[in-house]
C-alpha cells in the first residue's frame, strides 16, 4: 500500500478507481488515469460518458463514492471546491455563467480576492486588483484600449465569455487548469485564435486537462487523450494512437476524426 502511495507522489494528478453514481446511474466506474506535469491531457467521450463528472470529482464539486484523487503528492478526495482551488486547480464550466452584473474585468476580482491570491499580493487595497484583472484580460485576448473590458458581462458575446472564463481560471495562478468544453459554441476562427493561447500556457509550464467535443483542435493540442464510455475508460494514448484505434472509431462513427 505504501509503495503505491509513493507512486502517486511522483505523479502530478492521479485518479485511482474512482466511482460515482447518481441514484443508480453509474456516472463513473473504477476510473483511473494520471496527468504528468506540464502535460495537456484530453478527455473525450460521447454525451453522458462521465467527462463532466470526472471534472467535478477532481475539483470537489462532487464527492466520489469510492476511489482517490491525488494532486502533487497529497490526497484531495472530498475536499471542498474552494480548498482545491486554493491548492492551485482551476476549472472552467461547461455552461458560461459569468457574474452578469459586473463589468468584465470586475469578474476577475472574485478569484483575485481569494485567500490563495491575496497571499501573493498583500499590498494594494483598491487599485491593484483592477490592474491585474486588466492584464489577465489582455492575456486572453481582450483589447485593452477598447470598451469591451468595461462592458457588463451580460452584454458580451459568447466568444468573449469563453475567454473571460479562461481568464477567471488564470487569475488563480493555477498549476493545473481543467477546462470543461472550452471550445463549445465557438466558431472555427474563434477556436483557431484560442489554440495558440493554450499552447502559450503550456509553454509557460502549466498543466491542462481538457474535456472537449472539438476533436480536431484537441488532437492538435493534447499530448495524451483518455477516451471514456459510460463511465469507464475505453483506452488512452497519444492522439495518433487514438485516431487509429478501432474501438474509438466505432464509438465516434460519423464524427470528425
Amino acid at each position: 500500500m505504501k509503495a503505491e502511495s509513493e507512486r502517486y507522489e511522483e505523479k502530478f494528478l492521479v485518479l485511482t478507481e474512482v466511482s460515482k453514481s447518481f441514484g443508480g446511474v453509474e456516472a463513473l466506474s473504477h476510473l483511473s488515469f494520471s496527468v504528468a506535469q506540464n502535460e495537456i491531457l484530453g478527455i473525450i467521450g460521447l454525451n453522458g460518458s462521465g467527462k463532466s463528472t470526472a471534472v467535478n470529482v477532481i475539483t470537489g464539486f462532487a464527492a466520489p463514492d469510492s476511489g482517490e484523487v491525488w494532486f502533487k503528492g497529497e490526497e484531495i478526495t472530498g475536499f471542498a471546491p474552494h480548498r482545491i482551488a486554493g491548492l492551485g486547480i482551476a476549472r472552467s464550466f461547461q455552461t458560461v455563467r459569468p457574474f452578469h452584473n459586473l463589468p468584465a474585468y470586475k469578474n476577475l476580482i472574485v478569484p483575485l480576492y481569494s485567500s490563495r491570491i491575496r497571499k501573493f499580493t498583500e499590498s494594494g487595497r483598491w487599485g491593484d486588483r483592477d490592474a491585474v484583472a486588466m492584464d489577465l484580460l489582455e492575456e486572453v485576448g481582450f483589447e485593452r484600449d477598447s470598451q469591451v473590458p468595461y462592458k457588463p458581462a451580460r452584454a458580451l458575446p459568447h466568444g468573449y465569455l469563453r475567454r473571460l472564463e479562461l481568464a477567471r481560471c488564470l487569475a488563480l495562478r493555477p498549476d493545473l487548469v481543467i477546462t470543461d468544453e472550452l471550445f463549445s459554441g465557438l466558431s472555427s476562427s474563434e477556436v483557431g485564435s484560442m489554440v495558440p493561447l493554450i499552447e502559450k500556457l503550456q509553454a509557460r509550464g502549466m498543466t491542462l486537462v481538457m474535456v472537449e467535443h472539438r476533436l480536431r483542435e484537441l488532437f492538435r493540442l493534447a499530448n495524451r487523450v483518455v477516451v471514456l464510455d459510460r463511465g469507464r475508460k475505453v483506452t488512452e494514448g497519444t492522439p495518433a494512437e487514438i485516431v487509429e484505434n478501432s474501438t474509438v472509431r466505432e464509438t465516434y462513427l460519423g464524427a470528425e476524426l
Binding site: 464539486f61 474552494h82 457574474f99 476580482i109 472574485v110 478569484p111 490563495r116 477567471r168
Partner: protein, 334 residues
C-alpha cells in the same frame, strides 16, 4: 411608422461619471444632492414633525426600513431570500428586554449587546440552512419565528404569553428619536459603500453564480455567514430599539407582519438598491397609517395600491427616480 423609446444619459451624468476631480459646483451638487437631501430630510424629521403621533409613525417607518434594508442586503449579497425577518427582530427584542430586566443594563448597553449577541444567535440558527437555495431557504426561515414564538408560548419561559413588562425606556426623547434614524442612515450608506468594495463585489457575485465563486477559491459558507450576520445585526438592532421604545416585549415581536412588510417595502422601493427598501418603508408605513380611517377596508385599499405599484412600476420607486435623474427619454421613429 414604428416608434421606439430611446433613453440617453444626461450630459451632466456622463460628466460626473468616473471623474473624481469634479470641476464645478454644479457637478458636485449633481452628485451629492441625491445622497445629501434625503439624509437631511430624515434627520429633520424629529425637529419638523408635528406632534408625537407623527414622530411615532416616522420611528415605525425607520424600524421597518431597517428590516427592509436587512432583507435587501441578504438578498443582494448572497441571493438568499429570507422570509424570516421577524426572527432577527424578535431575538433582538427579547434579548434587550432580558438584559435590561435581569442584569439591569442601561439601554445603550442592551442595544449594543442585543445587536451583537442576537445577530450571532440568528446566524448560528440559520447556518445549517445556508447551503439551501431559493424557496427551500425561504421555507426554513419562515418557520423559525413561528418556532420561537410557540416555544415561548408553550414553555412559558421569558414571560410566556404575557411578555416582558417594565423594560427601561430611553433616557430622553431626543435620543429616542434620533438613535434609530442615525443608525438607519449610517447602515444604509455604509452598506452601499461596502457593496462597491472588492469584498462587496465578491458578495454580490455569489447571487450571480455561486459555483464559479467556489471554483475561484472563495469559501462560500464563510462569506454567506458574514452577510447573514450583518443582515441579522440590522434586524436585532431594530428589535432591541423597539423593546425600549414600548418598554415591553411580547410574542408579537415574532409576528409574520415583520417578515412580510419589509419585503413589500423592498419591492416597492427597488430590489437590490439598499436605499430603495428604506424609501419603500417611508412610503408604505405612513400610507398604512393614512388608510386607518377606512376601517376594515384598509387592508383592501393597501393591497390594491401595493399590487398597482408592483404592476406598473416593477423596477421600484428608487430605480425609477434614479433613471429620471440620470436619463432623458424620447420617442424616435425607426
Amino acid at each position: 411608422m414604428a416608434r421606439r423609446l430611446e433613453r440617453i444619459d444626461r450630459p451632466i451624468k456622463v460628466l460626473t461619471e468616473d471623474i473624481y476631480a469634479l470641476s464645478s459646483l454644479k457637478t458636485m451638487l449633481y452628485v451629492a444632492a441625491p445622497r445629501l437631501l434625503p439624509a437631511l430630510l430624515v434627520l429633520l424629521i424629529p425637529v419638523l414633525a408635528p406632534g408625537d403621533y407623527f414622530q411615532r409613525v416616522a420611528t415605525l417607518a425607520a424600524i421597518y426600513g431597517l428590516l427592509a434594508l436587512s432583507w435587501d442586503f441578504i438578498a443582494l449579497s448572497t441571493g438568499l431570500v429570507s422570509l424570516g425577518q421577524a426572527l432577527f427582530f424578535g431575538v433582538g427584542a427579547y434579548l434587550a428586554g432580558l438584559l435590561n430586566l435581569h442584569l439591569g443594563l442601561h439601554p445603550s448597553l442592551t442595544l449594543l449587546l442585543a445587536t451583537i449577541i442576537g445577530a450571532t444567535i440568528c446566524t448560528a440558527l440559520l447556518a445549517p440552512c445556508l447551503p439551501l437555495r431559493g424557496i427551500y431557504f425561504a421555507m426554513t426561515t419562515l418557520v423559525y419565528p413561528l418556532l420561537m414564538a410557540r416555544t415561548i408560548e408553550a414553555t412559558a419561559i421569558v414571560g410566556g404569553t404575557d411578555g416582558l413588562v417594565g423594560v427601561a425606556s430611553f433616557p430622553g426623547v431626543w435620543s429616542e428619536r434620533y438613535l434609530i434614524l442615525i443608525f438607519l442612515l449610517a447602515a444604509t450608506f455604509s452598506l452601499r459603500r461596502l457593496m462597491t468594495t472588492d469584498f462587496g463585489l465578491v458578495l454580490r457575485s455569489i447571487s450571480d453564480n455561486d459555483q464559479a465563486v467556489r471554483a475561484s477559491g472563495i469559501n462560500l459558507t464563510y462569506y454567506k455567514l458574514i452577510a447573514v450576520w450583518i443582515g441579522a445585526a440590522l434586524g436585532t438592532f431594530a428589535g432591541a430599539y423597539f423593546t425600549h421604545l414600548y418598554m415591553f416585549v411580547g410574542l408579537s415581536a415574532f409576528s409574520l407582519d415583520l417578515s412580510i412588510l419589509p419585503i413589500a417595502c423592498a419591492v416597492v422601493g427597488g430590489l437590490g438598491t439598499l436605499a430603495g427598501p428604506v424609501l419603500g418603508a417611508f412610503i408604505l408605513v405612513p400610507l398604512a397609517e393614512m388608510l386607518r380611517d377606512l376601517g376594515t377596508l384598509r387592508i383592501v385599499a393597501y393591497s390594491l395600491l401595493l399590487v398597482a405599484l408592483v404592476l406598473f412600476k416593477p423596477e421600484g420607486i428608487l430605480s425609477y427616480l434614479k433613471r429620471k435623474y440620470e436619463q432623458v427619454q424620447r420617442w424616435v421613429e425607426v
